[in-house]
């Protein structure tokens, strides 16, 4: 008993580790992200506290006076600064000259103080100029503080007397990182575009699934079933091509077919029709091609499953029904189809999940266009979180959108396990050691 148990645990460990690392952790992280306001601008790893003109805009309405005061950049040539400059170990003349000529001066712009420093007799290098000017910086403007405490102590030392409440307001307004929020959910539920995308997704899954992954796949399987082996395997090979062709090329082939300069345009052009971008001509066309592009890939899996299921029907049943007088259609209707129930159910369940998560083909073919007409949920999540022209990657919202798919997927697959009577899939080991 013990030996097989230990062996089992050892042998399953690599799978468990990989799955935990690259599946479970990401799922958990996604769930976490979906509750945040994470974007490119907030960064992923967390933010800092930075009093900057931009953050002060928000603060202005709450604490107008304090905000105005904070907004004041100040470089003061004071004793503390001079001491610090002396400590830098530069040419001693610099500190001396500063003290002699400029003590007590106040500058509002960094460039001004630096110009002054550059005018010193011992002109420091640019790097030193920056270092020296920093010693006289007497404002918190644009300084990045890693924690609230550092921010408050800096503010304290500059003489800002803030109540605890005000401190919180300042901290909130100046934090650059992400915060916990449920906005993503409300944005998903209120956005009219999201509803549209959801509808697109349902349409996409339903159309591709019914027309191709099941319907056409069944047709292919039946057709090849009634063929001698050689043509059957040739046709199966042809219809497997879309699946084994790398998606980038596969989509390129469709573009070759459907673009303005593509085959259809040229062919029809011979009959005097102007060329047209059939792929993106209008929403209907785009849908037509999106369904076709995905359908041609999807059909092959169903075809294989159905073909092998048909092969598993004993030949004698076909013979028997022929002898019993059944026509081809009657054979399909009464013998084949009734026995395809499980394969059809299997393909339906499996492919629903695959389709829900798939967006590669759409991304490469229409990129959701025209006018977002073919944008599906997974693609939209990808666009939101990882890829858009403005470079505004909204990780939080994207994660929330991904989570929706996860929830749908898990629900469906639990249903699926039920339908397939999960219990029967785990047989008891027969060797009891």
């Amino acid at each position: 008993m013990k030996s097989s148990r230990t062996l089992g645990l050892v042998m399953i460990a690599p799978a468990a580790i990989m799955i935990i690392l690259f599946f479970l952790m990401p799922v958990v992280l996604t769930a976490v992200f979906s509750m945040t306001s994470m974007t490119t601008a907030t960064g992923i790893s967390g933010g800092v506290y930075q009093i900057a003109p931009n953050s002060l805009i928000a603060l202005k309405s709450a604490l107008p006076d304090i905000a105005a005061e904070m907004a004041e950049p100040r470089y003061t040539i004071d004793e503390a600064g001079l001491k610090a400059v002396e400590g830098l170990g530069l040419t001693p003349g610099i500190a001396a000259e500063l003290r002699a000529k400029h003590a007590g001066e106040v500058f509002t712009a960094r460039r001004d103080v630096e110009r002054m420093i550059k005018d010193l007799a011992d002109r420091p290098s640019t790097r030193d100029v920056k270092q020296i000017s920093e010693q006289f910086n007497r404002s918190v403007l644009n300084t990045r503080f890693d924690s609230k405490e550092q921010l408050f102590s800096a503010l304290d030392s500059l003489g800002f007397k803030l109540t605890a409440e005000q401190k919180e307001t300042v901290a909130k307004a100046t934090y650059t990182g992400w915060v916990w929020t449920t906005d993503n959910i409300s944005r998903m539920t209120t956005s009219p575009d999201m509803a549209r995308v959801l509808l697109n997704t349902v349409l996409y899954v339903a159309l591709v699934l019914m027309l191709f992954n099941v319907g056409y796949a069944l047709l292919l399987a039946i057709w090849t079933h009634y063929m001698p082996p050689t043509p059957a395997s040739i046709f199966r090979g042809i219809w497997l091509l879309p699946r084994i062709t790398p998606v980038v090329i596969y989509v390129m082939l469709w573009k070759w077919l459907a673009w303005d300069t593509g085959f259809i345009s040229i062919l029809i052009g011979k009959f005097g029709y102007p060329p047209k971008n059939y792929l993106l001509d209008n929403a209907y066309n785009a849908w037509f091609f999106v369904v076709l592009i995905n359908g041609f890939i999807g059909a092959s899996m169903g075809m294989l499953v159905f073909s092998s299921a048909m092969k598993a029907i004993p030949k004698s049943q076909f013979y028997a029904s022929e002898v019993d007088g059944a026509s081809r259609w009657q054979q399909i209707r009464y013998i084949i189809l009734p026995q395809m129930r499980w394969p059809i159910l299997f393909v339906t369940c499996y492919q629903t999940l695959s389709l829900l998560a798939s967006f590669n083909e759409i991304l490469l073919a229409t990129n959701g266009g025209p006018g977002n007409a073919t944008e599906v949920w997974a693609l939209s999540a990808y666009h939101t979180a990882l890829r858009n022209y403005a470079g505004n990657l909204e990780y939080g919202l994207g994660a929330a959108m991904a989570l929706v798919l996860v929830v749908i997927g898990v629900t469906l697959s639990l249903l699926y396990l039920r339908v397939f009577n999960y219990g029967t899939l785990v047989a008891k080991p027969l060797i009891e050691d």
Partner: protein, 424 residues
């Protein structure tokens, strides 16, 4: 003591005409090595260059690389990325490393430097300037009744607000009606998302930002959306124009298949160098974007900037900053300006023979730059942009009515940006 420094530089939206964005850094490295040698330092700099042709891939790769602390030392990107990237701490202010008062930085146009700043801090050094004119195919304009003199005066009348968007659509229609161009080719705008579309918004009186806050001007946006919807309705622009293959667009524009189109100053380079439009000035006139209802003629400049990324060794970043600085020398920068037909970044650059002799850069600079706006540096601008574009596309293709598109945009902006955007 030999010192090996490895500097990597990535550039977005970079085609074969834009190689000097990267090469300039290499040239600068040569220069810096020599300077170091004179100072007795044995400095060896290797520059690793990576151009990205598409913005989407570039921004995705860069953002993730920066989060992973494996970003390149120098990045060439649009200035509008400064806001979010600096807030996230992905980039460091370049002014911490260079002396802006020294040559050649001191010579860079002040307004460009401003565009490269955020929070009062200069984050990047402008790499180029440009602007985005409206182009007209001269022969067709003549064919619909413009005389040579009319055409010579067109830029001015656009600038004065006499020739407006309305006229533009009418002319496009005329070209089609006369059979000069095919249906949908009268007005043949950019095929994909881009800053261009903001200049239509400003042309119709829209404001992007005010006092540090984003602004969504419903009326102006409605007019903007409506303009494209009208163009589609009138048949002068194709409904499925967006998303069409870029190469095809270029070819058609270069060969006079289109009547009027908008583009960037750098289009000149591509049209002439790659697409074979030999007699550019004989065939094309360019103007500001004409005024729309409620606005005035304008153009948008979208300078790319050299940025320094965070998370590197301090010394390396300093060297990277030096390289950026050297690359901004007028002669070096002019290589890029001329090759890619971008505009120069500094006053002295226009005195470089090589640059000044170029008719295109000269004319474009004079005619366009004075009227150029720029997109705001605001960390939330990206969200605004995505929403604006999504709904423009929807109303353009007829997926939504113009009103619905505007109100969808409004409600999404509200729920996304809250009080960070002023809606009016």
């Amino acid at each position: 003591l030999a010192k090996d420094v490895h500097i990597s530089v990535w550039a977005g939206g970079t085609g074969p005409n834009d190689v000097y964005r990267l090469d300039a850094i290499e040239i600068a490295a040569q220069q810096l090595q020599r300077e170091a040698a004179l100072k007795g330092e044995d400095l060896k700099i290797t520059v690793e260059k990576k151009p990205y042709s598409a913005w989407e891939d570039f921004k995705q790769a860069l953002t993730l690389a920066a989060e992973a602390k494996t970003a390149p030392n120098i990045v060439v990107s649009g200035h509008e990325d400064i806001a979010p990237w600096s807030q996230a701490g992905l980039i460091v202010p370049i002014e911490d490393y260079v002396d802006l008062d020294s040559w050649p930085l001191s010579d860079i146009y002040e307004n460009l430097l401003k565009i490269a700043s955020y929070n009062g801090t200069v984050y990047g050094i402008p790499q180029d300037a440009e602007s985005r004119p409206m182009f007209f195919w001269k022969p067709y304009m003549k064919a619909i009744g413009y005389s040579d003199a009319d055409l010579d005066a067109l830029p001015q009348s656009v600038q004065d607000g006499k020739y407006t968007m309305k006229n533009l659509l009418e002319d496009a229609k005329k070209m089609q009606d006369k059979g000069l161009v095919q249906a949908g080719y009268g007005f043949y705008p950019r095929t994909s998302n881009g800053p261009d579309y903001w200049q239509f918004y400003t042309s119709f009186g829209g404001t992007m930002e005010e006092g540090g806050k984003l602004v969504f001007d419903k009326a102006a946006m409605t007019r903007t959306y409506q303009f494209f919807a009208d163009a589609v309705k009138a048949g002068v622009t194709k409904k499925n124009h967006i998303g069409m293959p870029g190469d095809q667009w270029w070819k058609e524009v270069a060969t006079g298949k289109a009547g009027i189109w908008d583009g960037g100053t750098w289009h000149y380079a591509r049209l002439v160098n790659q697409e074979g439009l030999k007699d550019f000035f004989g065939n094309v006139i360019f103007t500001l974007i004409p005024a729309g209802e409620g606005g005035k003629a304008n153009t948008l400049t979208h300078p790319l900037v050299y940025l320094l990324t965070a998370g590197h060794d301090q010394e390396d970043t300093e060297i990277a900053a030096q390289l950026v600085k050297i690359a901004s020398e007028p002669r070096t920068n002019a290589l890029h300006a001329v090759k890619s037909a971008h505009l120069g970044i500094s006053k002295s650059e226009s005195t470089v023979d090589f640059y000044a002799a170029d008719r295109w850069t000269r004319e474009a600079t004079e005619r366009l730059l004075p009227h150029a706006n720029a997109m705001p540096n605001n960390s939330d601008f990206g969200k605004y942009w995505n929403i604006m574009w999504k709904n423009l596309e929807a109303s353009w293709t007829g997926a939504k009515t113009v009103d619905a598109a505007v109100s969808d945009a409004e409600s999404e902006l509200k729920s996304t940006l809250g009080d960070k955007i002023v809606i009016r």
